[in-house]
């Protein structure tokens, strides 16, 4: 049976396969931004399942990206060359390594999520933030993974097709989940946990599931990133990278996938734009400093947004949560 969203996914994938032939013609600078957009869409749409649809607050998404980046790199470095000439071609090894990275990140998500999501209250933000920093610290010490020097030598397998194919799959999974009766459980948890439990919904299960799925996609995004840049460093997955992703979700409107896709695109382009602005010498000094430091701008952006459009630039979620128990 051909369900609409499935046809749409297949059509999108075919279009991307076709388009990828033209991607070679783009200048490396713009190609870099394009791939960055795809990777950020995967990260933000995945995180939106947790922070948007399920109403939790994860603040360490880059940590799971790191797990995926390092795990997949380790896999391709170990098996990529030896098997590439033999039974499996290099693309297959690459895709398997991506999935391996995703599964590794999902496992990390499970280990972090189960204990912290069972607690009532907003522990998740603190725990994920901590885990993000710890994973960075561990990577900085891990000699087999390059430690402070970073890890390089991966082939550039990531191309236009794989990046946007995974972005399309992420969107497909999230939209089809939250659109189904099964996935309405995520929204119920966000809206009112007590009422959700009273309707027979295992709120812990849904929170963990959202968290693990988001971690999986972050792992995939990390693998794509690693096999695009061909060099990864613990600092590339720090707290600020996590904030980037959270801002995309908030700006796009929590629980609004289309909005988050647009926000991820805009916020990938924005730093490039700001870099250009900071070079204009005729601008006042202070303005150029602000432009150089995107976190200042993000903070201002978020404050203005929260005051004027708390539902996000494109969001339509207006629900309030009542926590009083009666």
């Amino acid at each position: 049976m051909f369900e609409r969203s499935k046809i749409l996914l297949v059509a999108t994938l075919l279009t991307f396969a076709g388009l990828s032939h033209f991607a070679g013609g783009i200048s490396p600078y713009y190609f870099d931004i394009l791939i960055g957009i795809g990777i950020n869409i995967i990260l933000a749409v995945g995180l939106n399942l947790v922070n948007g649809y399920t109403g939790q607050f994860s603040l360490g998404h880059a940590g799971f990206m790191a797990v995926g980046a390092y795990a997949s790199s380790w896999l391709t470095l170990k098996y990529g060359y030896s098997m590439g000439s033999g039974t499996l071609n290099t693309t297959t090894v690459f895709v398997l390594a991506l999935l391996g990275g995703g599964l590794g990140a999902a496992l990390a998500g499970l280990i972090v999520g189960v204990p912290s999501l069972r607690l009532k209250g907003d522990y998740l933000a603190i725990v994920t933030l901590g885990v993000n920093e710890i994973s960075k610290g561990v990577l900085q010490k891990a000699e087999p993974l390059g430690a402070q020097r970073g890890l390089g030598g991966m082939e550039q397998h990531t191309n236009f097709f794989w990046t946007f194919a995974f972005a399309a799959i992420t969107i497909y999974v999230v939209l089809n989940l939250v659109g189904s009766t099964y996935g309405r459980g995520f929204l119920a948890v966000r809206d009112d946990e007590i009422a959700a439990e009273a309707m027979g919904i295992n709120t812990t299960k849904y929170k963990v599931l959202a968290f693990v799925l988001a971690a999986f996609f972050a792992g995939i995004a990390g693998g794509l990133y690693a096999h695009f840049k061909q060099f990864i460093h613990p600092e590339g997955f720090n707290f600020l990278r996590s904030v980037d992703i959270v801002v995309m979700v908030i700006l796009g409107g929590m629980g609004n996938t289309a909005g988050v896709v647009v926000a991820a695109t805009l916020l990938t382009i924005l730093p490039e734009f700001l870099r250009a602005v900071s070079r204009y010498e005729w601008l006042p000094e202070w303005l150029r400093h602000v432009a150089e430091n995107r976190m200042i701008l993000y903070s201002l952006l978020l404050i203005v947004l929260m005051l004027t459009r708390p539902q996000g630039l494109f969001g339509n979620f207006t629900g309030k949560r009542n926590s009083k128990l009666q």
Partner: protein, 257 residues
Amino acid sequence: MNAPLLKLDNVTVQFGGLKAVGDLSFTIGEGELIGLIGPNGAGKTTVFNLITGVYEPTAGAITFANKSVVGHRPYKITARGIARTFQNIRLFPSLSVFDNVRTACNMHLRHGISHALARGPKFSAEEREIEATVMELLEIFSLTAERDAACKSLPYGDQRRLEIVRALATRPKLLLLDEPAAGMNPTEKAELMKLIRFTQEKFGCAVLLVEHDMKVVMGICQRINVLDYGRKIAEGTPTEIRNDPKVIAAYLGKEEE
């Protein structure tokens, strides 16, 4: 006689120094419609929270269909057949009327996440089945026209009825209603009484009703338990309760004046 559906046996719950419910015992038989009344702060809502696993009793036993519910998570207790509404309406504010009810069908899904993603024929069939169930319930409670409305846009009385629909969608054997008539006008109240009786007959579920409106309680309940300061001060038929001097002194007095 059969064993009761729900049995509270000397249930006590203590919040710090406050004994919100003390040594409370009562039973509900299958399909019975029982009232639970008492002044503000008597502990009625707390009894609901104890039965549904939101709170754990400090002492005493609660059994449902011969098995203890104490220590189980609320969603498991709902799965065993106890559903409830809330005194301060707790609908899912961002969901439509339809989706509020659909969400309560979640626990009966035969197909899980893989079907939601693969979207095969089994998935579609089950989603259609759920839609039919939800629409049938909305029909009974005359909410069909509001199907796609934001639940928060409904008038107060409709929101209360929607909460009952949502609870029924879990297919309970026991339905706990916490002040369902609050904020309703007399016509709506009369309609509600019919609906509660109809629900009890059509779905064969027992009902425990907390309500301050004595016309409603006396009008439909078979038996009534009266709480005061967390303790049971009386139990009996509506007529017995209406004439019980202790109940009149603690609760009914003012209204009879």
